[in-house]
């Protein structure tokens, strides 16, 4: 998560209009999932890769490594679809295990591969959005979509304080480690408990201090802040419209 956060600040597409990126990613995702079309999935996957690596200038190796993260789940999930345990062998393959067969049908192999393609395409949509758009910009889009402001404000605060929490926790753990705080399992467990309780107390104190600081800037219960705007470009909007049309066409044709 932290590496994604760093990468999206370096992305060359960071300052493209956030709503455009959001609409593109969500629409493509929906078409892939609803259409379940091979060609559309491959097309979308390729497009996201090109956009992220070539246009967004996200290092290829980092991108591939990120794609590997969900790959394990996908392969295990697909294997479960393809491989069956049955008394009768099916048409694609069969391995006898005593009286039973580990077997699969041609249809289930196709189905599994299709699932795999759709899943990778969907994941690549989400990566496109999160690798090229900062959290702040995504929240800005959600705000414009009139999501309840309570929800948005909570997300804004959580996003900021998550990092402070992590920083504090890692500082405490370093301090513990430098005093042999993880010498053995029992000590490690005790250290972790101590760290957790210290973290809780600090979080409470920080929340109080934060509230004072917000009040002293005339906070009255509503977070009013200005978002930076990056205008949408007609060419980009036309490009997205064309892409989605092709995607739908591919879905319908195959």
């Amino acid at each position: 998560m932290l590496s994604i956060d760093k990468l999206c600040c370096q992305s060359a597409l960071r300052y493209a209009n956030a709503a455009e990126k959001f609409v593109y990613a969500v629409l493509t995702l929906c078409i892939c999932v609803a259409g379940r079309s091979w060609t559309a999935a491959v097309f979308a996957f390729a497009a996201n890769g090109v956009l992220t690596v070539w246009k967004g200038k996200i290092p290829l190796l980092r991108y591939l490594r990120l794609l590997l993260v969900p790959a394990v789940f996908l392969i295990v999930g697909t294997a479960a679809v393809i491989v069956n345990l049955s008394r009768n062998p099916m048409d694609a393959f069969a391995l006898s295990v005593g009286e039973w067969y580990l077997t699969g049908s041609r249809a289930s192999i196709l189905w599994g591969l299709n699932l795999c393609a759709t899943a990778f395409a969907s994941v690549s949509c989400l990566y496109f959005l999160s690798l090229n758009t900062t959290m702040t910009d995504i929240l800005g889009v959600l705000r414009r979509m009139h999501l309840p402001s309570l929800l948005i404000e909570l997300m804004m605060l959580i996003y900021r304080f998550l990092f402070i929490l992590l920083e504090t926790a890692s500082a405490i753990m370093t301090a513990q480690e430098s005093r042999l705080g993880n010498r053995n399992f029992a000590v490690r467990v005790r250290s972790f408990g101590g760290m957790a309780s210290a973290l809780f107390i600090r979080a409470m104190k920080r929340a109080n201090a934060l509230y004072d600081a917000m009040e002293s800037r005339c906070y009255d219960g509503e977070l009013r802040v200005l978002a930076e705007e990056h205008p949408a470009r007609k060419r980009e909007i036309a490009g997205i419209a064309a892409f989605e049309t092709i995607l739908i066409a591919l879905t319908l044709l195959t």
Partner: protein, 282 residues
């Protein structure tokens, strides 16, 4: 009486006790600060500086006593509080407790948007203050990727964008490197040029002696002594009671004069640079 003659801050018999502590964090504080003054608040941790600051901005309501800002008493109504918070801004010591948004731009816009100004005006002001405080080079970085010094710059911009009459800085140089300490000090000088009254808590007696028009020594919620830097720094016993020692430049200057290296002047030097100039002249 004309507007300019009214003191920027006036406190009369101010007392405050934190809930459930039983100890008076502030105990009968009387103080008058003229408009445009540079005031250093000094004293040990727990001497009441931060509590006093929170009272000045209406976050804490004193048990007894009165606070006037620009000649107007603080009233603890919604409108009154909004009014005083508009006039008095606090830059907190710990920037991580003040900066609550990931985006620098949003963060700085928060205060001014709360004042209910037009969006266009607010945008212009945010841009202007970012330019003024050299924030532009890192404006696009998320708050958690900023260095301590950069966070401090943003924390000051947070308040400056609201155009306060009185600006409070709670140990602004704490935990900063030399470059950023100097940067903060330069910003503070600029504030004074704009006739903003600056109240600063600091532990650096050398800086306070050089910079301030008025030094307030605090201990156990009371004011031990208050006056010009020369007045306050001449009393060694008093400084010691507040946990401080006399400014290095003064001690050096007096010792050298005693030994006949330099002549005593009417005005003792304020900084090492001034002392060096004196020595060069012989």
């Amino acid at each position: 009486m004309n507007q300019g003659k009214k003191p920027a801050v006036e406190l009369a018999g101010l007392s405050y006790t934190y809930e459930g502590s039983g100890i008076k964090a502030l105990d009968g504080v009387n103080l008058k600060i003229e408009k445009g003054n540079k005031v250093a608040f000094m004293g040990d941790n727990g001497s009441g500086k931060s509590t006093l600051f929170l009272c000045l901005n209406g976050i804490h309501r004193p048990d007894s006593g009165e606070i006037s800002i620009g000649g107007e008493k603080i009233t603890y109504t919604r409108k009154g509080l909004l009014d005083v918070r508009k006039k008095v801004g606090i830059v907190f010591q710990e920037p991580d407790s003040q900066l609550f948004l990931a985006s620098v731009y949003q963060e700085i816009s928060f205060g001014i948007m709360n004042l209910g100004v037009e969006e266009q005006t607010a945008r212009r002001e945010v841009e202007r203050v970012m330019e003024e405080l050299d924030i532009t080079p890192f404006r696009d970085r998320p708050a958690h990727a900023l260095s301590g010094g950069q966070k401090k710059q943003v924390a000051i911009a947070d308040i400056l964008v609201m155009h306060p009459e009185v600006m409070i800085l709670d140990e602004p140089a704490a935990a900063l490197d030399v470059t950023h300490t100097e940067k903060v000090h330069r910003i503070v000088e600029d504030l004074t040029k704009r006739r903003i009254t600056v109240l600063m808590a600091t532990h650096d007696i050398d800086y306070a002696y050089r910079w301030a028009d008025q030094i307030v020594l605090m201990k156990n919620g009371r004011i031990l002594k208050e006056g010009t830097p020369e007045e306050v720094c001449s009393d060694e016993a008093l400084l010691k009671a507040a946990g401080l020692v006399r400014p290095a430049v003064l001690r050096l200057y007096e010792k050298m004069a005693e030994k006949g290296f330099i002549e005593l002047r009417e005005k003792p030097p304020k900084s090492i640079e001034e002392l060096e100039a004196l020595i060069a002249r012989g």
